[in-house]
């Protein structure tokens, strides 16, 4: 694996993404639709911080599930998988896709945060910014670390769109429960120390998932 070729692949993905804006447009629309549905359901109720934290990650989860598989599915659809296999090592491809997915998830959480702060201006108030930022950064990394290898698996299967959330959810449950708990703490304004335990779990999860995916990616990627 070389760093320069990894970033070259990330640049390639960013370029092709901006050329078609497929994932970006679809994801933004998905976020808007999901949040609108939640608003219809809640009407004028004042949800508690734990409900809002849960709904926040529900939107992030389903949006990520509709977008993150693109990284590999698009290679299969355009028939560029073979070329990529020839020009780059599996680990290079893996880390490039991991970085791209992390960036995509992180921008997704930013978008959802801004939208939530606008529509739930009374209840979605981030009282502990440091806790929230660390949660969102670790959460994005965790999402990407688990779902990149699943995306690579799903790209080889027949029923990609439905299979992706089905395969990802059991793997992501630990992460979802932890980030929901940490986000609730951030909204309630608990001191940063109160969420350190959650961050340790998240860090362990990210390390385990990235290491496991790195070792297994070759078996998925090579035909």
């Amino acid at each position: 694996m070389s760093v320069s070729s990894t970033f070259a692949l990330v640049r390639k993905d960013v370029h092709s993404e901006f050329r078609t804006r497929y994932a970006l447009n679809a994801l933004v629309m998905f976020v808007v639709v999901a949040v609108a549905t939640i608003l219809f359901a809640l009407r004028s109720d004042q949800p508690t911080s734990s409900v809002l934290a849960g709904l926040y990650w529900v939107v992030v989860f389903f949006t990520a599930m509709s977008g993150l598989s693109r990284t590999f599915v698009s290679e299969e659809e355009r028939g560029t998988t073979m070329t990529l296999q020839l020009v780059a090592m599996p680990s290079t491809v893996y880390f490039a896709k991991l970085i791209f997915n992390t960036v995509l998830t992180f921008s997704l959480t930013i978008a959802v945060t801004i939208l939530y702060m606008t529509v739930f201006s009374d209840t979605f108030v981030i009282q502990s910014m440091s806790t929230f930022l660390v949660t969102v950064i670790l959460g994005s990394l965790g999402f990407a670390s688990a779902s990149t290898i699943i995306a690579a698996i799903v790209a080889k299967a027949n029923t990609r769109a439905t299979l992706y959330p089905v395969l990802s959810f059991p793997i992501l449950v630990v992460l979802l429960m932890t980030v929901m708990s940490a986000t609730t703490k951030a909204l309630d304004g608990e001191p940063f120390e109160g969420a350190v335990g959650d961050f340790q779990i998240l860090a362990g999860y990210i390390l385990a998932m990235t290491a496991g995916s790195y070792l297994l990616f070759e078996y998925v990627w090579k035909d």
């Binding site: 688990a146 290898i149 699943i150 698996i153 080889k156 299967a157 027949n158 029923t159 299979l163 089905v166 395969l167 959810f169 059991p170 793997i171 449950v173 630990v174 429960m177 932890t178 708990s181 335990g197 959650d198 779990i201 362990g204 999860y205 385990a208 998932m209 496991g212 995916s213 297994l216 078996y219 998925v220 035909d223």
Partner: protein, 234 residues
């Protein structure tokens, strides 16, 4: 394998009869009386069936993941046959553990499902098996199916320590060993059973494990025959 079959059937029959027949007593004398645990009473007998089944679920999962891992190393289709056979049995035992646990929970804790950490874990394990079989049916070529489902079962296996070691500590729960348990929390629950109950419990563990080995053997043999037939026909 014949010995395994007879020993497992004998052990399970013995555990079933002894576990149900030995009377409870508030002041147990000798080997033919179980202690009466307040709050559990007659329901305590389920520990002799529910826990060995849950234990076998874990064994089956580990066996399935192990053979998946071996397939990736050897690329020998027989390892995939073993892996999927263990997964099928694991799914069955997982289902049984969920059912026996839910019934016990209904009569002990008041409702069939409480999202206690262990209940959450077994629910996730059911989902993992569901996803595993969904993935297998969506892959057409045999090598791809074997390799990708092996990768998935290993990735799923990576999350298992989080369920066993981490989640019971951050969530409060009803099972022994959860956060807030006066006897201390931890993945390995201290066995504080009376000696006679402990013997029956351990025989139950052994019996169900041997039962799994026997069923596993039958399923592998059957799957090999089916595989041979499918190769022959195509």
């Amino acid at each position: 394998m014949k010995a395994v079959k007879f020993v497992s059937i004998t052990l399970i029959t013995f555990v079933l009869i002894a576990g149900l027949a030995i009377p409870l007593s508030s002041n147990p004398q000798g080997w033919l009386e179980f202690p009466n645990i307040p709050g559990l009473e007659q329901k305590a007998r389920n520990i002799l069936y529910h826990v060995p089944i849950a234990w076998t679920t874990v064994v089956a999962f580990l066996v399935g993941t192990f053979y998946g891992f071996r397939y990736l190393k050897t690329k020998n289709i027989d390892d995939d046959i073993k892996s999927v056979s263990a997964a099928g049995l694991g799914f069955m035992f997982c289902f049984l553990a969920t059912i026996t646990g839910a019934i016990w929970a209904k009569f002990n804790w008041g409702s069939f499902w409480n999202w206690d950490p262990r209940e959450t874990s077994i629910f996730i394990l059911l989902l993992i098996y569901g996803a595993y079989f969904a993935l297998r049916s969506a892959l057409e070529t045999e090598e791809k199916r074997a390799a990708l489902s092996a990768v998935y079962s290993i990735i799923a296996g990576i999350t298992v320590p989080f369920f066993i070691f981490v989640m019971p500590r951050i969530m409060s729960g009803l099972h022994p060993g959860a956060k807030g348990d006066p006897d201390g929390s931890g993945p390995v629950v201290q066995l504080k059973m009376s000696p006679n109950m402990l013997v029956i419990f351990l025989l139950g563990l052994l019996g169900f494990t041997l039962f799994f080995i026997w069923l596993f053997n039958i399923r592998v043999r059957l799957a090999r025959l089916e595989y041979k037939r499918s190769v022959h026909h195509s």
